[in-house]
């Protein structure tokens, strides 16, 4: 099993869009995929997959980390709804204000237990549930829940937009977290436009400049597609328009991650 974290230094870079569609791309290829929403501060996956959920969510990832349910109880199989070749199972974060507040008030001791539980969940996904890929959709920046997920991952994918603010934020995060954790880390430049300049008024190749500054490979440069931005979030592009150029880019990303 390969565990992948999708992370970013700030919000709005397109992390969740990439995580959800990448999971669908892999499940369409026949792989068994677990997609886990560890963005406990701003859960969104429950809304994105709301149409695929047959019944109210019984156990959230919050419940698992709080010791209220077992590993197998937290995953919800939604493959049938999307008619996917492989299995797509999701672990959702509780979107209620009470649950969000509760997760934000956790102690250092609780976080130490939480990371151990995440490792145990991954072990169960791998050995008991036959999962091929586990994808974490994380909370942006340096949040405990995200760093816990990064610590458990084989590959970390940073989604960034090509502007200086994001570049500096990503550089600091790489230095303080990713490089210390010694993880395989790759970058996706998302919502790219040909006018983008990483350094204002400087003519340069965006990819090579980003790689030079961040010292990590850029595995994809995904253009800014207006229809992706305007699309209803619940309409998964990988399912509805598998030939869309955005999904074709994610197909390439899946291939590159597979080779890491």
């Amino acid at each position: 099993m390969k565990t992948i974290s999708i992370h970013s230094s700030r919000g709005g870079t397109g992390k969740t869009e990439i995580a959800t569609n990448l999971a669908c791309v892999l499940a369409s290829r026949g792989f068994n995929v677990a997609l886990l929403d560890v963005d406990f501060r701003a859960p969104s996956m429950v809304i994105i997959f709301s149409k695929a959920l047959n019944s109210p969510v019984k156990y959230w990832l919050n419940d698992f980390l709080n010791g209220r349910c077992k590993e197998v109880q937290v995953l919800i199989d939604i493959s049938n709804y999307y008619n996917l070749k492989g299995k797509l199972q999701v672990g959702l974060a509780n979107p209620s204000v009470e649950a969000i507040q509760n997760m934000m008030l956790k102690s250092q001791a609780w976080e130490a237990v939480a990371v151990k539980k995440l490792f145990s969940l991954l072990s169960s996904l791998n050995s008991d549930m036959g999962i091929d890929y586990c994808i974490f959709d994380t909370s942006p920046g340096v949040q405990y829940s995200s760093v816990n997920a990064l610590a458990c991952s084989d590959v970390c994918v940073i989604v960034m937009n090509s502007d200086l603010v994001d570049l500096i934020g990503t550089k600091n995060m790489l230095k303080d977290i990713f490089d210390i954790l010694d993880k395989k880390t790759v970058i996706i430049l998302n919502k790219f436009s040909p006018e983008n300049r990483i350094i204002p008024n400087e003519e340069n190749d965006l990819v090579s400049k980003t790689e030079e500054i961040l010292k990590h490979p850029v595995i994809s440069k995904i253009p800014c597609y207006c229809d992706v931005l305007q699309a209803e979030r619940m309409a998964l592009l990988a399912i509805q328009q598998p030939d869309h150029p955005f999904i074709k880019k994610l197909e390439e990303v899946a291939d590159k991650i597979d080779g890491l």
Binding site: S107, Q108, A109, A112, V115, Y144, N148, A151
Partner: protein, 126 residues
């Protein structure tokens, strides 16, 4: 006379080696002092040292790798850890014992086997 000269030469070599050993011991003492300082700073607000990921980020790379490897097991021998990190068993035994002294890891002997484990304690009910 020749014998005496050879003896003096040998003794000089021994003194030189002892100096090297002494330098290495100084380095170990210095390194331990630094580790204790990290340990005290990272846990000054808690009565129990916690092996959470943010705390592990402050540890030296060698100890952090050992602690991260331990997360994957309920409990592990130095040999189990060595298989994950690629280090020698003796090296991992030393690192794991260092983590025990720092309070992040617990150890328990069963027969001739020593098991290490990270067992976080929830003291604050949040």
């Amino acid at each position: 006379m020749e014998e005496q000269s050879s003896l003096v030469e040998t003794l000089a070599k021994v003194v030189e080696q002892l100096k090297l050993v002494n330098d290495k011991l100084d380095l170990i003492v210095k390194s331990n002092t630094e580790l204790i300082q990290i340990f005290e700073t990272s846990n000054e607000s808690s009565s129990h040292p916690q092996a959470d990921v943010m705390t592990l980020l402050k540890l030296p790379a060698s100890l952090r790798r050992t602690a991260m490897a331990l997360y994957k097991f309920q409990r592990a021998t130095a040999d189990d850890i060595a298989k994950v990190t690629g280090n020698l068993r003796a090296v991992e035994s030393s690192f794991a014992n260092q983590l025990v002294r720092m309070g992040y890891v617990k150890k328990k002997r069963e027969g001739r086997t020593m098991y290490f484990s990270i067992e976080p304690e929830l003291e604050a009910k949040k």
